[in-house]
Each structure stands twice: as C-alpha cells, then as structure tokens.
Symmetry: C2
Subunit: 252 residues, 2 copies
Amino acid sequence: MKKDRIEEIAELLDKRGKLTLNQLDTYFPDVSQMTLRRDLLQLEQAGRIIRVRGGAMSVKEVQKVSSEPYAKKTAMHTDEKIRIAQKAASLIEENCSLFIDGGTTAMCLAKELPDINIHVFTNGLAVAIELAQKKNLNVTMLGGQVMKENLSTASPVAKSYFENTNFELAIISASAFTPENGFSCGSMVEADLLKMTRQKAKAMYMMLDSSKIGKIMPHTFARLEDIDVLITDDEFPADLKEEFLQRDIVVM
Amino acid sequence: MKKDRIEEIAELLDKRGKLTLNQLDTYFPDVSQMTLRRDLLQLEQAGRIIRVRGGAMSVKEVQKVSSEPYAKKTAMHTDEKIRIAQKAASLIEENCSLFIDGGTTAMCLAKELPDINIHVFTNGLAVAIELAQKKNLNVTMLGGQVMKENLSTASPVAKSYFENTNFELAIISASAFTPENGFSCGSMVEADLLKMTRQKAKAMYMMLDSSKIGKIMPHTFARLEDIDVLITDDEFPADLKEEFLQRDIVVM
DNA sequence: AACACTTGTGTTAATATCTTACATGGTAGA
DNA sequence: TCTACCATGTAAGATATTAACACAAGTGTT
C-alpha cells in the first residue's frame, strides 16, 4: 500500500537523517525508483522531508544539526515534559474550551493535543502555529506585545480580550515553585496575564516538572491552593504531594 | 573577495529561504556558476545551508518549514514580492509606529525591515515571529481567531485593541485589485480588520504586485483613493498608474 | 629573478539525477 | 460490464552536478 510505504520512508528518514535513492531502493526492492521519487515528492510537499540531490533528508535532522545551542535549552528535561504533556492531553475532552500558555511545556502539550473539536486560547506564537495545523481545532491568539525570549505575548491590553471570551479550563506551566512562594515566573506582565486566566477559568491545571521545584522566580501568579490538578513526573517528592492532596488537589 | 561573497550568499538565503543557482547567477554576474557552486558547498559544510537540486536553501528556513505547508512557503518568495518589500522597507524611518498585515508580501517586508527602533503591529503569526528576531524592533501581535490558511489572526475582538493603540502608518497588501472594486481579499473578518486599520493609520501604503491586477476577491477593504502610496513592480500598467497619479497617490 | 606552491577561478566534457510523457494494470463506483 | 481513476512502470529527454584540467595572481623560497 502506498500510504504505508510513505509512512515507512518518513520514519526511516527520521531515524537515519538522510538517505539516497539507491539506499531507499534496496529498502523497497519491489517498487521502482520512480515510485519512490514520487513518494519523496509527496513527503516534501507535506513538509516532512527535504529532497536533496540524490535522495532526501529528514527535516528533524536538519533542525537538530542547526539548533545546537538553542537545543540545549529546550532539550532540557524534554522527556519529562512530553510525558507530562501527554498526561495533560489525556484530560482534554471534545467540545471544551481551554487556555494554554506560551512556554515550552505548553508547546509539548500543543503537539500532543488530539485533533478534535476544541477551542484553545493561547498567548504563545509558536503554540498557535503548532495548533493551527490541526483541522478540527479552533485557535485564538491573545494579542499583546511580543516577548522575544519566549515568543509569547503579554500586555495589559489582553485584559480587554478576556472580557469577551470564556474558557472552562486553563492548563499552564510555571517556571518555578515552592510551597511558600507558590508558582512563579520571570515576567510581570506574564504573571499578570496568568492571574487573569485563573480568575476566568473554572478550573486550572498546572504542569510542573520536578526540576522546577525549590526554585523561585520574581513574580508569583498562583498559590498552591489556586490549582485543581497538578500534572507532574515521577520524581515529584512525596511530602510535597501530600500537601497538595490535603487540599483536595489531584496529583497525577 | 570570496569571503564577502559567501557571506552575502548566506544572508540572501536566510532572507529568501531558497534560491536556485540561476537566481544566484543573476545576483553575482561576475563570477561563474562553478564558483557559486563551490561557495554553496562550503556553506553546506559549515552547516548553514542545505544544497538541494537546482540550488540551496537556508537552514533557518527549514526550521520554519515544519510549521507551514511547504509548497506555499516556497512559492511565495517571488522576486517581485521581495523587490516590492525592499521598496517599502526603504520608506520606514526610525521611531515610527506601523502596522503590517499577515500576508506573504508582508512576510517579505518583515525580513527586509531594518533592525532599528520602530514599533510594529501585525496580525500575522509568522510575521511576528520573524520580527521578534530583531533586537531593536518592538512587536505587538494583534490577537484574534487564528486563520489556518494564512496564519493570521482576525476577529471582531481585535477592535478593542485598536482603541488603545496608535500607529502612523499601515503597510498592507491586497490579494486582488481592480479600479472598480478596489483592493479586496478573501476573508471578511480580515477585510474588516484592514478597514479598521485604514481608519486608525494616518497614512496607508499598499503593496501590490502586478499579478494581482484584474482579479476580484469577495471582500473589498479599500478603494483606490483610500491609499497614499502604491508600491508595485515594473509590470504595472501605465494607464492604471495614471489613475493613481491623478488622485495624488505616489506610485513607486 | 626564477622557481615551485597555493588559492581562487573558469571551461568543458562526462556523469548522475530528475522530470516528463506515455503505457499498463487493477479497482471502485456507475 | 464499463468507465474513470489511481498507483505504478518505462524510457527518452532535460537538467544539474561533478571531475578534470587550465590559467592567473599572489606568496614564499632559493
């Protein structure tokens, strides 16, 4: 079947990074080179690969090679983030309306979200673009001044947005957490926005990988008791977990 | 000098995403194609570009590819658009405040804009991200529902933004133009936004490559006399130009 | 100054790769 | 059953790339 073969080619390329047509030919001896060419063309149009002379290479590979310095930042704790994002995604139901922030954990969540009929509000540019790929999903971008470090928007003006919009659920992530100082982040305007979000949403889920615990950032936007669900990883300290559970907060 | 040329090629590629050898050849008429090939080879080994059949593409571009249907992306880097964008960019002065739309021509403009102290409002997600790279430039994203086809936002809510913001200049592009129907685009909400923009801005510059002339899209957002400057290419018909000039509109 | 030697470049032919156009067979729906 | 369409194959032709050699200008050595 054509589709399977194309999928297989894509996976191969993701693993190997780069393949020549001759290599592909030995992988798929029962179809002609021309067919493989056509497959590659399709994959290229889908944006998954790049055709180069002699064959093709995976887009992922290219990204890896080039973004070494930046990769370090984002690659930190990626596995945990993805697992946390998957947990969060499993909580989303069809026809709901939710807010997602613009951080890297939120970006992971955006990738994990199923393509179903939900409405998502976000202040992350990259998150919005990622979500725009999904056909059934509705995205609304919160406007405001663009913060260059994290490609999010934040501004007092966003407030006027909120007056006319509604969402049941806010899923956000913090840069730091201690029981005393609550959930905090580095930007005041962002903290402001997240506070507003808390007021607007019926429920608030917090994604927090355990590396954030014990850190303090300048601006607190939520306290321990403000959240309804805490989504974290297995490293999460048991004693802290107890504190959440005592307040009827679900920890998962 | 070899080094300068290579640097120039790299910059060119970052701006335009992808170039064929023939295009490069016209940019550097005083060296042979073979030399350019060798330059590309070097840049490839340095990891800055990827050579593809017929030419090369910027690694940076590839990173963006994953977030946008690829075919569209490359198709849009036409020479005319870039030349028009360059003309438009040359009109921008330091310390001004302007609006740019989210279309592909606007994207070219974003790339051409100098990194000086100006404030830019836009409703294009990709445009905002592009502009966020520039250190001295200030970007504000207009919020609203994200339109998946063109990664722009548009919504009635955007109106509330405009009440608190000011910009002197709006530089926008249309999808279609006829003297009778004016400048039009395919989306009603977008047309709405652009109309508002017209009211808010002191001046409006229109970027219009000649391929758009004679086409009509469903929603007109500006008429001939609404604009102050028309930025177009050399193919622009002389008789039409006359019509603009009669209304004291600068054509360049 | 004469001499290798390196480096950047151009020219051409040989090679590799890609596209185009057309032919074939199988399959789903009319 | 027939038609239309899709996925595929084949091969000629177009295009792009490499390889090989040549040359000129600058550099250092004797």
